[in-house]
């Protein structure tokens, strides 16, 4: 029996997440398969935010009073926790943003500044490399940077299986390449990118490397030192943390030579009416009063994930992936968009059903209490590549069970029956 191999006690974990016990349409229990969009939050995270407001709310780094000291401790403690979680040597390498989207835009804007001391400065003839699997957040900022600077945009195509096609590696990343920004795991196909090969090539040509780690950090152990990357971006809300807080990790020596992005309070060393000089990271990139309650919640999220263990979460998702791959591929009329085996693959399942539009599939599943996402998943170019307008996507996380896979499969059969009986599909 497959359930024997499950690494996690899902029933117990589910009880930690208040929302997962609610019912949805027709009083059905919820099967939440949309963690790729945003994850649910354990009580510990919800309580950490509320505890911050009840007991320690104050502007960090600003007051000379006790509560301001406490708030600062909590905020900087969260930074240290994140640094440890991703294996960073130095706490100052962790920047709080509002989202991975902001983190990636920060880089794209800062890379576009042409101070003589800059770590990087793009110009005509340079190239930026992305992939066809990118989420819009790791594509459009680079398109715009290319437009602003005259650099060209290149990309790795997707294979038929929704993996990165590295066959053109040496041509795509060449001496003109200044930035390589790649997804660590596709939010559409679940494919985990062969980052070591890409990063090696990028290092050889002296390009700066950026990983979109939105779908990796929440799901498997991620160590920035082992990866050997320059920057990674991810979001708190996808890793059982609060909304409105994102992360950017980067190598300290690069941050020192990167222009600030948002300008305002707490990021300066001096200010006159006509000019300002700027602090070093992390302050340099954290203008204004930050999302302090968000940091408190995120800190609790890391504690929660570590209490379960990232290795166990990964193994659990692997077992789910193996089971789901077998069960889904047994459904006739279902086409899986993404790798057909569990090698280097997360628990993300995008599929189409013959003759039934994804939106209609999603609606029919919703009617059975199954929450999935439909559409282009902010990866429109990939949809075009596959010649489709969208998919139905089910994404799994630590609180999902094999039974959730069964419910999904049942739901799909029911969807096919429903529309089939009406002559569709």
């Amino acid at each position: 029996m497959i359930s024997d191999s499950m690494a996690l006690d899902v029933a117990k974990i589910k009880r930690d997440f208040p929302l997962l016990s609610r019912t949805v349409r027709h009083e059905l229990p919820l099967v939440y398969l949309d963690s790729g969009a945003t994850s649910q939050k354990p009580l510990a995270v919800i309580d950490a935010e509320s505890n911050f407001y009840r007991n320690h709310n104050s502007a960090v780094h600003r007051g000379a009073h006790l509560i301001a000291e406490e708030a600062t401790d909590i905020y900087e403690g969260a930074r240290a926790k994140i640094a440890h979680f991703i294996g960073a040597d130095d706490v100052d390498e962790v920047i709080f943003t509002k989202s991975a989207t902001e983190s990636l835009n920060l880089l794209a804007y800062s890379f576009g500044q042409s101070e003589s001391s800059s770590a990087i400065s793009l110009k005509l003839g340079d190239s930026i490399v992305v992939s066809e699997l990118e989420h819009h957040a790791n594509l459009i900022p680079w398109q715009e940077l290319a437009k602003r600077t005259g650099a060209s945009l290149r990309w790795f195509p997707s294979t038929e299986d929704g993996r990165l096609d590295l066959s053109g590696l040496e041509q795509i990343i060449d001496v003109s390449t200044k930035v390589v920004a790649i997804t660590h795991q596709s939010n559409v196909t679940g494919a985990i990118s062969p980052v070591s090969k890409i990063l090696e090539r990028a290092r050889n040509v002296g390009a700066i490397t950026v990983l979109d780690a939105c779908q990796s950090v929440p799901h498997f152990p991620t160590d920035v030192k082992t990866l050997g990357v320059d920057f990674i971006a991810f979001s708190g809300h996808k890793m059982v943390g609060p909304t409105g807080i994102g992360l950017l990790w980067g190598r300290k020596e690069l941050f020192e030579r990167l222009s600030p992005f948002l300008f305002g309070g707490s990021m300066v060393t001096s200010v006159s009416m006509t000019e300002a000089t700027y602090a070093t990271a992390p302050r340099r990139f954290e203008a204004g009063v930050p999302n302090m309650a968000g940091a408190a919640g995120l800190s609790a999220a890391v504690d929660y994930l570590e209490s379960i263990g990232m290795e166990s979460i990964h193994n659990h998702e692997l077992a789910l992936t193996e089971y789901a791959l077998t069960q889904l591929q047994a459904i006739s009329g279902l086409t899986l968009i993404g790798p057909k085996n569990s090698v280097d693959r997360g628990a993300v399942f995008s599929f189409t059903l013959d003759g039934i539009h994804p939106h209609d599939v999603g609606q029919a599943l919703d009617d059975r209490g199954i929450a999935v996402r439909t559409g282009h998943h902010c990866a429109w170019p990939l949809m075009k590549k596959f010649g489709i307008t969208g998919t139905t996507r089910a994404t799994f996380y630590l609180y999902n069970s094999l039974e959730d896979v069964d419910r999904l499969v049942e739901g799909i059969h029911h969807t096919q029956d429903f529309f089939g009986a009406r002559g569709i599909s």
Binding site: H357, D360, Q363, D367, T389, G390, F419, R422, I424
Partner: protein, 147 residues
């Protein structure tokens, strides 16, 4: 009671299977392309006007059953109507769509389009139902039939 059957009425699925006026005409007075950016569904719509200033609509598109059926119903409904009549129909339909299920729509005015009343209870689907309708309104604006 909200359920799948009330949303996907036979009439809607019939139009989805056998859409009316699908296939773009040759000499439109206005031609528009609309996309629902959250799902990628698309509609191309051509507007025609005959000698008596009566409308004709042809269209093409890809999308869910709701968006496709709704555009089909629309194209049939406005055929031979004046632009002010068509505008009245569009507005009545929009009102039904934003009513969260409280307005079922006047069958005299809306014909088959009343079958979409259930959609208004599913906020995420209202844009699907309106896709073709907003395209028509846009085309009428372009043709300066309304302002």
């Amino acid at each position: 009671m909200i359920n799948l059957e009330s949303l996907y009425q036979e009439l809607i699925l019939d139009h989805y299977k056998n859409p009316l006026n699908k296939g773009l005409s040759k000499n439109p007075i206005a031609s528009v392309h609309h996309v629902n950016p959250s799902c990628g569904d698309e509609v191309d719509l051509n507007l025609e006007l005959d000698g008596e200033m009566k409308l004709g609509v042809t269209w093409d598109g890809i999308g869910c059953s709701i968006s496709q059926a709704s555009t089909s119903v629309l194209s049939d409904l406005v055929k031979g109507k004046s632009s002010s009549e068509a505008l009245g129909i569009i507005e009545a339909f929009s009102e039904v769509m934003s009513s969260k299920g409280s307005i079922s729509g006047d069958p005299e005015l809306l014909g088959d389009a009343v079958a979409f009343a259930g959609v208004s209870k599913y906020p995420a689907r209202i844009k699907c139902a309106l896709l073709g309708w907003m395209a028509l309104k846009d085309a009428m604006l372009q043709a300066k039939l309304i302002d």
